[in-house]
Symmetry: C4
């Protein structure tokens, strides 16, 4: 019964529960962010602490419920979202026990990742998949590209360390590599800048090189997206159907939420899936 409320989003109660949960996650993250602002921290210390404990209690309850309700709790606990759920709780308790690790308490913003779980990605899954496929198809090209960038950045960073030296801010090769990445990606903070004529000449070449290199990942991704789009147009918009290929209720055993509509068994643990309730229509 509790399970149906918490995990089957097809029922009215389940949908309400989901909305409350999303609101709680967003609110708890906003509290963490607001608490980091010194003036707000000073004025609202008590309110923030109270809100933090209320949210932690709520999320703990939800975590325990999931563990209790699911028939394969270990599979859930070891899954990606199970670990995220745990990481969203632990810092508050740990900070109580060991005040020294207080700085790590902001790991709580990882709660934001839980939003993806609650959404169950039903609405946007096909867009994610499309981008994901585009990136996956270009995986090797991107790896080659990144390897080249790392090589160029290490070699040019070391060169600038030799040319400019510690007196111009290039205090070590790692710092020079950091500066080279700053320059090649066109971020250009300006905290470290070349001062010698030769260093500036090499920097000018690096910037032009970075400009050209910028075109390569754009070209790869664009070409991949355009190609995928053209194929989908030909095939009569399978993307539109893609939106319907999600099972609307999760697995009762391990909590896995993504299944094909015709699926009868969970693809993760093999448990039998509940039938889709008519109220889901």
């Amino acid at each position: 019964m509790v399970y149906r409320i918490a995990f089957e989003t097809d029922t009215t109660t389940g949908r309400l529960f989901e909305k409350v949960l999303i609101a709680a996650i967003v609110l708890s993250v906003l509290v963490v962010i607001a608490d980091s602002i010194p003036t707000l921290h000073a004025h609202w210390y008590f309110a923030f602490t109270l809100a933090e404990w209320v949210f932690t209690a709520l999320f703990t309850l939800e975590y325990v419920l999931r563990i209790v309700c699911l028939r394969a709790p270990f599979r859930y606990a070891r899954s990606f979202f199970g670990i995220v759920d745990l990481l969203a709780l632990l810092p508050t308790y740990l900070a109580l026990l060991f005040p020294a690790i207080h700085v790590l308490i902001d790991v709580r913003v990882l709660r934001l990742l839980r939003i993806f779980r609650v959404f169950k990605l039903t609405a946007y899954i096909s867009e994610y998949q499309q981008l994901g496929h585009a990136l996956a198809a270009s995986r090797r090209k991107i790896a080659v590209f990144l390897a080249s960038v790392v090589l160029i950045v290490v070699v040019l960073g070391s060169l600038m360390y030799v040319l400019e030296g510690p007196e111009h801010g290039f205090t070590s090769i790692p710092v020079s590599i950091y500066w080279a990445i700053t320059t090649m990606t066109t971020v250009g903070y300006g905290d470290i800048t070349p001062q010698s004529p030769l260093g500036r000449f090499v920097t000018a070449l690096m910037m032009l090189l970075g400009w050209g290199t910028l075109a390569v990942p754009t070209g790869i991704v664009t070409s991949e997206i355009a190609f995928r789009q053209a194929r989908e147009e030909e095939a009569g918009h399978p993307q539109a159907h893609g939106l319907a290929t999600l099972h609307l209720s999760g697995c009762a055993a391990c909590g896995e939420a993504h299944h094909l509509p015709e699926a009868r068994h969970c693809h993760a643990c093999g448990a039998r899936l509940p039938r889709v309730a008519p109220s889901a229509k």
Copy 2:
């Protein structure tokens, strides 16, 4: 009669009125901009104030005329351009009554938006539509992309707040998020920069990630534009015809300016449209 001059751009007088209005809008915005420069403000204070009141009087007259001439003045007053027209007048009067809100007087630059109304977009409408369609078609992809960027920026901003802390300029999580956006978009002001080795390492990863991420919106928009262009080529340039699909005179009742050439009634208020004068040819 007055209506015909002010709102029917097909007559010679109407076109002259339109040109005077565009000049007045551009001039009034230039006066606002010039007035903000301290040296010019000191030397030309009287001239700027005079010009401001002349323009405000002119725009007030135009606004009153529109309200009086149109048969459905409320519909106009509540429309987007009606509110822009009002916002272009109000600050001058309000600043006279309440000198304290003087800082808001620069809201007057919103007058620039009125230019779009006067142009009636006849010349560029098809280009706008094409870009608009390209963006609308990619709406969901862009939403997914923005959601991912917000998530990445909040998580990485919080991480950098923990790693660098207030002593290196990361005074709170919102400031760190602002810095993370500065870095990921490759703007890189350099007012806040990481100082610790670990912070610089994470920053280097963020910059490379931002570099790659930059490719995604470019890919989406390019693919969409290329696809649209290819379809138009096949269909025999409907884009060219698109330029002719605008009714050249506005609705006498509510002032709505965009109608199909074959339209007999205003699509916004249903009032009968004037016939296109032969002088519009």
Copy 3:
């Protein structure tokens, strides 16, 4: 005879003259650049001044020769390259007469533009044309895009002037607009940065907007280039033929260098063109 040497690049002497001229232009620009470096200016003052007068004398001789040899000297003198040729000479003479305008002497770097004339673009004309066509075809789209950018930048610049004010470096609306362009183009100097929380929030939105907007011109140009390339592939590489459509010797009357191979009269002044010498093969 002198004409044939200076303007007909098909003869051996003409080609040698051309190479000497390119070398002289590049050298004279390098002298201007080197002369601007304080230490070099102090040490090599005499040598630079001498070189400058030698180059000026050479270019003056060339200019006079052109005027004398051509049958329509006025047409040449008023053409784009005629004015560039004159601008490359005048500053040196004027600086002698009026030492006060010494700062304008660096207009001499415009001599670089002459290189394009000497090259006669024979080698790269088809690439230039292709890029030019791609840009021309997207002319209206680019105009719409630039108009939107100007509008956004003026409105957001004024908004930031209101939000941040002179105490944070936003001393006037033009300065704020300059800052807004710096931010939207992701250059981000960091000489002016928002300090107030609200200003930083608006800046973050501007940067994300600028990121997205960056995709639009890229999309337009890429789509145009890809489209052109696809058509050329189908049509059997007319680009390759494009390289041959240049008349290899100029018009004897006005100096215009670009003619179709089958042209019998100059398209600029109507004078009869010389026949292509067999040595041009």
Copy 4:
């Protein structure tokens, strides 16, 4: 026998040797990088010096082995990788002999280039080739583009030198050109920024120009990659086959590693190639 171990990666020993070599190269580069950090240099001076000599000895041994084993050692010594292998050794010995050139010792990071040799590019060669072809096909377009950028940057840099002058940091034309490249590539360090209103106006135009220009190389590369991808799709994925077209063992005479699988003679020196051992499967 030694040859088989060091150069034939198809045998088990050969593969082990290769892995050890990659580890040694990466480790030696990490030691060079770590040695440049002042605090680590002070604490681990002895360990780093020892490691450096061990690696140098190892690489010297490998270099000598290659020279001895190959039947055409001169061809190897004069090849690109032969010179890289030598450059990876020399600085350590030279720094011992001439302590004054100690600053050049970081040339040792060039050892990273050796990784490409050891990998023999078997895994990524087709991706490299594809990117290489895309760039080679756009060679002329890129040359035209770079020439235009150089011209724009020299002319605008000189203009800004005249407009801003040495008192605002534009101390010479080369510095102004460096600044112009910084601005056009949207890096924007902020170490040199325009201060005069006219200079800022020109800068704003330059940034918008740079924004537009950025689209051109992206368009060229994207169009090239998309075109290549489309052709490969039609031709039935020759890219996939491309991965198999590498001979898995090098030439015994000159060490050249890239051969077609059906090759019987080395394409570089003509020596007979060893047959592929069954263990390579």
